[in-house]
Subunit: 322 residues, 6 copies
């Protein structure tokens, strides 16, 4: 993902030695950013021309979940469409869905692919593409229900498309691991492999209940860098934090490293309180191969960003691996 545009950035606070640090202007998108919204969070951004575009989860005031397109010059200040994306038929005519949430966006070959949690007899992985963030073409769902957190790789792996996902059940699911699946044509999927499981409570409790892939994997010399969320079930609810993993470049079902400590966990007031307290949920990243900015949903209510140096993150992931 080499890119010309300058990614958002703020230097590490003085005195801090954290590998990842938050933007002082967080949250960058508030809950009432558009007239109809109850909350905007868990959203995806990508470079687009000499600026940025994105797909945003906007729950409206009926708490219906849908995804909206948005545009920005600097990656921090966003214009978000007031109406949800209206899908057109892509490789299928079956494009209805009960709800859409938690989008990711991947540029792949010639277009932008959007994946999201699609309401089709329960949650499964919806798939669409766009060239311009104006017209979107919805394709066959990738999997049977029940699945969430479908994230495409930004290039083919051995000639096939590849997707991470998190199969589970249809409620506030208390379990879930990360799998990879392949497709020759973005329609039929198979060769399912397990990539990462939750960790034993004693070894790394923040990720012992369920895990799911976050931003699109980033190709580095040392492997695919995958940020992911991990969940611990406290006596007062689920707490979502963020870690990182490195997958083999040739065979991304092969996990090489994975952070035992979290990289970032809920600690700011906009993460600790909101519609769902204690949720920090990464869904996108921009990287110029030196600096990196992560977009995350906070408390299922707003959007925040955080920064880090790619090299430091890779070093930390290798040196603090589970």
């Amino acid at each position: 993902m080499t890119e010309q545009v300058k990614i958002p950035w703020e230097d590490r606070p003085k005195g801090s030695s954290d590998v990842i640090w938050r933007y002082s202007g967080n949250p960058i998108i508030g809950r009432y950013h558009i007239p109809s919204s109850n909350s905007i969070f868990n959203s995806a951004v990508v470079p687009f021309g000499d600026a940025y575009a994105g797909v945003f989860r906007c729950d409206n005031k009926a708490v219906q979940m849908n995804i909206h397109a948005g545009f920005s010059q600097d990656g921090i200040h966003w214009e978000i469409e007031h109406e949800p994306i209206e899908m057109q038929p892509g490789n299928t005519s079956m494009i209805e869905s009960d709800y859409k949430y938690d989008p990711r966006v991947t540029f792949l070959e010639d277009r932008y692919w959007v994946t999201w949690c699609n309401g089709f007899h329960g949650p499964t992985i919806g798939l669409a593409y766009t060239y311009d963030f104006k017209e979107f073409f919805q394709c066959e769902n990738a999997f049977l229900p029940f699945n969430r957190n479908g994230v495409l790789f930004p290039e083919r792996i051995n000639g096939r498309y590849a997707m991470l996902s998190r199969p589970s059940d249809n409620g506030h699911t208390p379990f879930g691991d990360i799998y990879i699946s392949y497709s020759p044509d973005m329609k039929y999927w198979g060769e399912h492999r397990c990539v990462m499981k939750v960790s034993p409570f004693e070894q790394s409790a923040w990720q012992c209940t369920k895990i799911g892939a976050g931003p699109v994997p980033i190709r580095t010399d040392e492997g695919w860098l995958v940020f992911y969320h991990g969940v611990i079930n406290t006596c007062n609810g689920f707490r979502y934090s963020m870690g990182a993993a490195l997958l083999d470049l040739e065979d991304p079902s092969r996990l090489m490293y994975r952070t035992q400590p979290y990289l970032l966990a809920p600690a700011m007031s906009y993460e600790l309180a909101g519609d769902v307290p204690n949720v920090l949920f990464p869904t996108a990243a921009l990287c110029d191969m030196e600096k990196l900015v992560i977009y995350y949903g906070a408390a299922d209510t707003v959007v925040g960003i955080a920064f880090g140096y790619l090299k430091e993150i890779l070093d930390f992931t290798r040196s603090h691996s589970l």
Copy 2:
């Protein structure tokens, strides 16, 4: 409910287009407002002479739930009795109760009726009347357990008294719809009808888990205006928001309109944090047929108020109906 006294009021904040907006001085009643209290919330107020009176839920520091009388000149600053209401026999001598909470007050014909959630082998609907908010006369419970959120209409419907209620079970009940029941004499109740059910998750998720009537219904030319709370079950607990419905004037079991979006949902710090985070629970309203003020419990800890114009609320309810 025509009334002479001026209701509390604060104009809509500049730049806001919200149909309902909060008082800038919220919370108007803090958790330690009386010496014994752990929290004061979910309380009812009415015009009384040329001022206001009310019945307040005060949980003490043993977290025992009871109701107290209170008085105010302006509806914002309240003197609340330090001792709970002591009931005298009304149409029955069986007036003991394990606990009392979430009162509503209705002026009807010649007296003020209080309904509340009464601990009688589990929660059911307690009923009492008073002429002066000093002496209270407790009557037969309206229903068998298990029931909550009993709200009387402020006049007879076709000659009979009418009450909304929410039958359910005896714990942190995860379900519950609004029913109407009738009585010739405030003692025997029947003709139970279902008025409103929870909504499908896909259509209006904020009210998909359980719903319950809030303030006393307000007679308008367009129907009975009922504010109600709706609940969604997130992975970190229940979240209570407020909507509105219009019931037929002649047959209030007939639902005409009901807001798909919520009107107000937890978003301020005193609503997001407290003994039970994310609860916004309306229980009373004052209306001069032009302006309207709603009293609500916040986070099961304090009392807040919010304002709106009656006409705008009616228009919104009709135009944004589920």
Copy 3:
């Protein structure tokens, strides 16, 4: 309930000293007794002219629950209608119901009243009357949901109709006590009192989970004799057994005696195995004031009967009271 017809009878088996003993020809009604039935159980019978009539719970092979009329010369061999009872409007036109089950029948003044568990937004108490077991007139439901095991007294108490019931929730409810409610007119109900609660596990475990009234109460010199079911929750499911209680004649909300041991519990193969194993559920009784026969559902599949002497049952209830 003085009656001319001879009630079914079989002497106590030699060597037995049981207060209640089963009929050797049990089950008297098999699961496929009518062409459409999957199971027939939990049914009610009464003297009718010089013979017997009854209302039977017949679940069909789609496992839809409904009630059917039936007739018998001897109380043992029954002709059951192949079609469910079709209700006509009684004191209401709202007579639809999602399902009907567990009927009881009470002769009261000039007609036979049927109560049952009626599917109306969940289980509640349905009410109807008939003069001839051909035409049935359905009335208003007695209570809000959620309620089961509504049983009318066979005469007015202090001028009002009286009904036992078991309020609870809407699933396989794990709790429930017996209440009494009164009505001036069979339409409006009130004056709710608690009659009996479940017993502490340590004192009488067979009735520690939930209890519910069975046959219509029998007036005796020593009080209203009420047979009831009690439930214990084992690690392999609910087990239903039968006990007896004596209520005060003048004030039947006053419990005088109640058997600590059960009178009859699942032990025969047709009680231990079937659609719901380990269920013995009494719903009707015939009594000539000397001898008594109890009708009960077995394993939610078939109907059985059991016998006893009234005097022995009363003696046992008083001498083995909880």
Copy 4:
């Protein structure tokens, strides 16, 4: 499935008008049929040469679940291999599995395909083929976890392979509907469609909790005949019964008819008692286009068979459709 060999048969019992009736010699395979077995049930049979072959679920006395090959001259008396099937690599080398259960066998083009519930990070659909029931070649799992009851159609539909399955979660799942998926190559699967959902409790309670396909669909002039199991959740556990459905020949995702009543439900002692009481679970059928025999597991312990006439079954399915 035209076939030369005579299928097992026993005439309808005198006096019976049942569409399906049981074999008087049931169970045909007992729980200790091979030395290591704790139970043998939920198994599949097909014509094989001039006799029969099958794949049998044999839980051993450690209650490990596995599948064994077996052979029979008459379809009633079976020789079952004492050792489980040992798989060889088919279109994949990933052929390990934690457990195997509930097999189905489909003859398709040139070979026999076996599908089963395969333990791969939880239950999913395993797939293998054999030419001779001696050598078996395991292929890629068809789907991600969590899935059960994968059943292949016996011919291609519009050029693609087609499979029914029941996605759900990873425990004693209390929900589950029947889907269809397609594949060009028995490796990659997609175009997932929902075929049948559970029925509303009020309309057909025996199939209101979860449903799953049973034997391989049978091509008839009137559509694909699919026997399936339906489950109701009683207060004493799940009860599994059998119904039938007709799917469109050209587009089998289109449901045409589906029995509201069950065709067969647990009622015999070997169905009512065993390791899991009240389970009747159909997994195979033989049909000479006039007569039909169904193989089913009983109480998760033994194998039984039942008979019917194809024409009567089709008539019943159409005339008693939900």
Copy 5:
């Protein structure tokens, strides 16, 4: 445990190769064996003089759980006291208990020790001794709640008393492993070690939910032979079966062998149906070092026995170890 009296015996049925086989006269004690009993099961027997004595769990018809003394000439025909054991103070005066169940009896040095599940603010391990099965002296409970299946070793281990137990919670506990604890004086207990855990579902599912020690451990040349129950949680409830383990003679916290297959599991009608179906629960054994007889509770309703040769059991345990 060398003993003079002849233990009950019946030869292995012809054609059987089972290591353990049932007595053809089972059940040896029926549910109504004494006048007050609802069920008699999970009981303990020992040689006593030239005959046998035992302690029996008799639930009465109020389903109160208590333990009764009993005597037998042949170990098969038992006289059981009609009244529960009345305890006298042993090393403590605190001898009240809410209930007593599932006793074991161990001869140790000079007296018979009884352990049982004692109701003391929930289940824990009760402890008493007797010389004559007439007078019983109750001691301090061995552990804090919540514990069940306390079983003493029949001799001191390295100078200290030793007890197996199964800590868990206070309901129908879905988990539980076997621990060993030591005491210098039968009053203070410590040095707790884990002996055996439940097995992984894939390796031995019959013992994957919870396990608990059964009869008193038997000293053999090859180690302490411990029969134990294992539980699997089916969709229709818990199923209890029996296995065997060998513990190190010097350090019995060291598990050497443990049967992967069960030795005996519910399969007879008196095991498959009763108050709690599918329970086979061993609690005592007699052994003349060649032959062995095991006493077990069946379906929480009756008592059965089964036979085996010690050498075969030891061989089987070693050769079929998990």
Copy 6:
């Protein structure tokens, strides 16, 4: 616990009449107080020489729970070791543990004893001693799992060591009472008695779900003063508050007084929000017999302190007893 060092202190705020008031500088220890920590809370302090020492629960950023030593001159500013305590063998060589949390420290005779919740096949009570807070010697666990909140008395009672604890199960346990146990040697434990149970909901709801001892009991003329936490289960999770009890000096299993109201409950922002909102968990106290300071964990995230006068606390406990 007479002591020379001056305990931390801040006078009661003007206008306040609270018996316990918070330090204005709270929290005194933040979540990131040491480099590796995610949170520091539920920790224990004692006078040590002319200063203070303590044992701190530090969850690291992998959310592994462990205990660290720390030192302070004033009891407010703390130096906490960056590495967890490394245990050496005390009266046992079995000193491994899966995790350690919620320590208490008791000076007893000649050394400091540390108790904590020790991960040993689930939570149980770990025990160690130190002379210098540098070398720690771990002893046998006091009890079988599952137990938490083990608190030693600071002197022998009738010659034996005494410990309070809270047996329960192995998850987010929804129940639990306080027991006392005795030991002659800190190795073997017995004579278990129940000290305090949860209160009925109607009488004191803040302590109706579970309770557990907090700081080491303080000997006063009026009895052992025990601060404890109580929990109520709201629809949005557990809420932990603090009360006080007085136990008999000679027989501390005898409860004399116990506060019906709480003394302190979550109300400040650092108590209402954090990793586990609404937790106020006392674990240590310093007392010069006139003034008293309590250390408590807040929101499972930070450490706070609060002050009071011993005499006022004793008076309040006696005068507001349940």
